[in-house]
């Protein structure tokens, strides 16, 4: 199992969700975040907003998946979030040792899907 964290441009969220749905990946957690990357928080005027402390608005996606869905999830996020401009974001893929569904107490591969 892998845990995927993606930081993307807020305006790409709808497109990324649509692409994930196409790959039948429905479980995703979304949060509004602020942060900075290589552009050091200085964005082109129209692309994003300069916040206090030079932090830019981003959206963070968290997706827990079985091995078979790792590449499809990455592909979907790339397809939806990529514009080719600075600030498109990053995808982090982490090992996921355990996963428990609270309602049923199921663990592992059954719990994640």
């Amino acid at each position: 199992m892998k845990f995927i964290i993606a930081i993307i441009q807020p305006d790409r969220l709808d497109e990324v969700l649509a692409k994930l749905t196409e790959k039948e990946i429905h479980l995703v957690t979304v949060t509004n975040v602020v942060g900075r990357g290589r552009q050091k928080g200085i964005a082109e005027v129209y692309r994003s907003h300069k916040e206090a402390g030079s932090l830019l608005r981003k959206v963070r996606l968290e997706i827990g998946v079985n091995e078979a869905f790792v590449q499809p999830a990455i592909d979907a996020i790339m397809a939806g979030a990529r514009t080719g401009q600075i600030g498109d974001g990053k995808i982090f893929v982490l090992d996921l040792p355990r996963c428990i569904r609270i309602r049923t107490g199921e663990e592992g591969h059954e719990a994640i899907g």
Binding site: P10, D11, R12, D14, A18, N32, V33, V34, V45, Y46, R47, S48, H49, E51, A52, L55, R57
Partner: protein, 459 residues
């Protein structure tokens, strides 16, 4: 370098406007000297003019109440859009308040209430409010200063284009919006205002009853809203991917303040602090309450739960519908109008919109267009001379002719507002693209048009 040149150009233009405004002020002062008590635009009326302090105080207060409705509308609409567009809507409403106020003072008022040219448009003799001063205008309001009448009417001219924002919210470029505001006010609002309220206006002469602006304000704006929604096209992701309203508390606050302001809108339209104003306020309040109840009730039956949004939308629809009728109907008539105002816009929003497949962002057409049409027709049903001697009797009081007149006024306004708005939007679109870019629309108009955000994420 081009931006630099453009900036200089803008500054030169601004200075030019300022200078011409100053020149006009001097001109106006010279011409105002013989204060005869009758405005240049007025025909010789028999009614004597004498300023009444009670009437004047009431209309002054009403002007303030109606002014407040535009910021109230800003919050009503602002709460209903997505977070990323809240400022763009507030900004558009405030910008209209500023733009139309200037337009009205310069020539809008004169085009609307000046000497009639063929019943179609007023003349320019009151350009820059030439002759509009402390002396009452015998034709329009013999007991209050002409300037107060002008100010009260100004607030109507302001809120009407603001209503249209509901149809194109979240996807209109701001510069195109500013151009449209000036042109729409001048070419659509001012003529229709003249037809219905101007002395010599053809619908007024025909006997159409519009107490406080059902045709002039609501049908006019509602139909223009439909035109805007059709021409601009749907927002990206409409209808399935659009987030729900970002702040229903804002929307409820806005609706509440609209209701409050409407006492001035309808009550003030009596232009006297008298029984008629009181009667109009009662009818206004009753219709809003009944329409709010009706919409909430239908929601309860149809969707299983009464919604806040349904309740406030119903109340606003009730206020819209009672606007032309307020000074002509009994409280019982207002109940009938309120029921229709809860039902018909609900049907339009629930069934007509999906079927016609247009994206009227905040249902400006559904509420103001449909509600306004219902109100104008309902005036022809429930109007009675027992409430207002100078009004008329509707169908339910034995005069079918009044209904025919009302339908004519509705039809003429619909045709003119729709055709005129379509042409206007298309023409403006040629030299100033109406629709925001796809990227700008996704990021949100707050950042891309105003370089601001309504809300921060981290304190």
């Amino acid at each position: 370098m081009t931006t630099h040149k453009r900036r200089i150009g803008l500054i030169v233009a601004a200075v030019g406007v300022l200078l011409s405004a100053m020149a006009m002020t001097t001109l106006g002062q010279g011409a105002e000297a013989p204060a005869t008590g009758v405005a240049p635009g007025a025909t010789t009326a028999a009614a004597p003019t004498k300023v009444d302090s009670g009437d004047t105080a009431w209309v002054m207060l009403s002007a303030g109440l109606v002014m407040m409705m535009t910021p109230a509308l800003a919050f009503f609409y602002g709460g209903l859009v997505r977070r990323k567009n809240v400022l763009s809507v507030l900004m558009q409403c405030f910008m209209i308040l500023c733009i139309v106020s200037v337009q009205w003072v310069l020539f809008g008022y004169s085009l609307s209430f000046g000497k009639s040219h063929g019943g179609l448009i007023g003349g320019l003799e009151m350009f820059a409010l030439n002759g509009v001063g402390a002396a009452p205008n015998a034709d329009y309001a013999p007991t209050i200063p002409h300037s107060v009448f002008m100010l009260f009417q100004m607030m109507f001219a302001v809120i009407t284009p603001a209503l249209i924002i509901g149809a194109f919210a979240e996807r209109m470029r701001f510069s195109a919006f500013c151009i449209l505001t000036v042109l729409w006010s001048t070419l659509i609002y001012d003529p229709v205002c003249h037809w219905v309220w101007g002395v010599g206006g053809w619908l007024k002469t025909m006997g159409a009853l519009d107490f406080a602006g059902g045709t002039v304000v609501h049908i006019n704006a509602g139909i223009a809203a439909l035109a805007a929604a059709l021409i601009l096209g749907k927002r990206q992701g409409f209808p399935s991917m659009i987030s729900p309203p970002h702040s229903l508390p804002f929307a409820t606050l806005g609706a509440g303040l609209l209701w409050f302001g409407w006492f001035g809108f309808n009550g003030g339209s009596s232009l006297h602090a008298d029984g008629l104003a009181g009667s109009a306020m009662v009818a206004t309040h009753v219709a809003a309450a009944v329409a709010g109840l009706t919409w909430a009730g239908i929601d309860w039956i149809w969707h299983g739960k009464p919604t806040t949004l349904g309740m406030i939308t119903g109340a606003v629809a009730g206020l819209v519908a009672v606007t032309p009728a307020a000074g002509y109907v009994t409280p019982a008539g207002a109940i009938g109008i309120g029921i229709g105002a809860g039902l018909l816009p609900w049907l339009a929003v629930t069934f007509l919109k999906p079927r016609m497949n247009y994206d009227d962002t905040l249902d400006a057409f559904g509420v103001h267009g449909v509600g306004g049409i219902w109100g104008a027709i309902a005036t022809g049903l429930w109007a009675t001379k027992t409430v207002n001697e100078s009004g008329g009797n509707g169908l339910f009081y034995g005069d079918a002719h009044q209904l025919v007149v009302q339908l004519t006024a509705v039809g003429a306004t619909i045709v003119y507002a729709f055709v005129g708005s379509v042409i206007l939007f298309k023409v403006v679109n040629v030299f100033s693209t109406l629709r925001a870019g796809a990227h700008e629309e996704r990021v949100g108009l707050d950042l891309t048009e105003h370089k601001e955000a309504g809300y921060t994420i981290i304190d």
